[in-house]
Amino acid sequence: MHSIMLSLRFSLSPSNITLTKKNQYHFGTKFPKVFATTTSSSNSDNGNVGLGGPEVALPEGLKRELMPKHVAVIMDGHRRWARQKGLSVEQGHRAGGEKMMVLTHLCSQLGIKVLTLFAFSTENWIRPKEEVGFLMKLFLDTASSQEKLDKWTRNDIRVSCIGDKSILSKPLREALTLLEEKTKSNSGLHVMIALNYSGRHDILQATKRIAKKVNNRLLEVEDIDKNLFEQELETHCIEFPEPDLLIRTSGEQRLSNFMLWQLAYTELYFTNKLFPDMEEADFIEALMSFQPRQRRYGGYITKT
């Protein structure tokens, strides 16, 4: 159950009435303005977020200290969205791409540290050849877009890519590597794009790397434990590798082979809205449903 906070303000003050030289009354105040907003920043508990972009106050109801550090999103529903609107699948994916930029900007403003986006799964290769080809071209255009790079730089956003890049085309691989290089020094939001990613493959490649290290006598067999594993997963390079909140759109309620290891204690938020239909208010609703949760990570809360 959610309570929607509305703020109604009524402004009229008799002190705005002035006496002119001709003893006429000038009503300096316009007719009383009554306006309602659902994102009031009048609450002094909401801190301002100072990142590379302009400072913004948090929306009403969100607490900065309870903001998730790492949000993961499974962007689902592009094709259904396009079908509903009578558009082509390509237009659906393009709409999803634009929404991704909106989400990135929002997370940057809200002070979230890491945003992981599930863009393409290893299982998605079975889709029609034309659709896969279009998606690869869309990724290439996005990665090599100067306009998007400028936006990310302006907002101090770092972009990196996880997933098996070895089977992607050379131009796309190079564009992604260049994008990672150019944004490496940005210290704000870290956006991780999961491209040709599989949770099981992530665990598999970590296993291979560890086995190789043991074989090369860099590690002992006894050293292999879950902590070591986490250091070999594709998410090892980020400050907060385990998502606090996972958002999946379009009503599907499963992980679909996404970050299987990392999502052990992640809050799962499933919404029926299709990803291109998601608005800022929908993402904020997901954050608001996360904030009051008492996360125990498998333990007890002992009452004293």
């Binding site: 009554v34 296993t207 799962l268």
Partner: protein, 248 residues
């Protein structure tokens, strides 16, 4: 000056009336929202009651065969309510989910609860007041904990190292996802991939259920164990049977 005072009085009066009117509108809006959510809550309770009593025909004939492997995750604090846990298992048995050739995978129970739950294997399970009673001949229950998840993968990695490196002179490892599945089986942490995972607890997360096994598992958060309803359980399973997966 009298005119000025009069105007000021009128404006003051208008301001006060305006504020009162806005306050009234504000209260009305709150009232409407509270009534709406109360109505939703009542509708939910009524629906659960109708489902439990079997009056909603669409929920009587669930295609249980779609749920070959059902997983239940119970929050560690909630799992202390042993009677509720056992009631849940009896409900599952009565629905017919826990028939022969099907498996239920339970996470979150302690040792004594597991022992008691195992006794349900050969017991008659009938839910009072429902149309879903059935005699259960044999129930397969698998109990898992966090140790079956990440530490298990580490052990499987040890085994793979021994198999692929210790006994060969291969430069590069060539084991696959199937090898990991087999290795997990070999070290005693293998098992089926659940079709449906029900989460009982205050938090919507799967609480460290074996990560390797939930690649395509449908995850449904039911809510706190203490307020579990038979109707909610039926509804979750019924909804799952209507789901279509693309697998990519």
């Amino acid at each position: 000056m009298d005119l000025g005072n009069e105007v000021q009085k009128i404006l003051s009066w208008t301001s006060v009336c305006g504020n009162l009117a806005l306050h009234l509108i504000w209260l009305i809006v709150h009232l409407i929202i509270n009534v709406w959510y109360s109505a939703l809550g009542i509708a939910r309770v009524v629906e659960n009651t109708l489902i439990s009593s079997g009056l909603l025909k669409s929920y009587n004939a669930i295609n249980i065969s779609k749920v070959r492997y059902l997983a239940v995750v119970i929050d560690s604090e909630e799992a202390r309510q042993t009677s509720k846990v056992l009631e849940l298992l009896r409900w599952l048995a009565s629905i017919g989910v826990l028939k022969k050739s099907q498996t239920a995978i339970i996470e979150g129970l302690n040792k004594s609860q597991k022992a008691t739950a195992s006794k349900i294997k050969s017991q008659e399970a009938i839910v009072e007041g429902s149309n879903h009673g059935t005699l259960v001949e044999h129930v397969d229950l698998e109990f898992v904990s966090f140790a079956d998840s990440k530490p298990a993968v580490a052990k499987a990695a040890n085994l793979l190292f021994a198999k692929h490196y210790a006994s060969t002179i291969l430069e590069k490892p060539n084991f696959t996802e199937s090898d990991i599945s087999e290795a997990l089986q070999a070290v005693g942490y293998g098992g089926p991939e659940p079709d449906l995972l029900l989460v009982y607890g205050p938090v919507r997360c799967h609480l460290g259920f074996p990560a390797w096994r939930i690649r395509y598992t449908e995850i449904v958060h039911i809510g706190p164990l203490k307020s579990m309803k038979f109707g909610s359980l039926i509804k979750a399973i019924h909804k799952f049977t209507k789901v279509h997966q693309n697998y990519g």
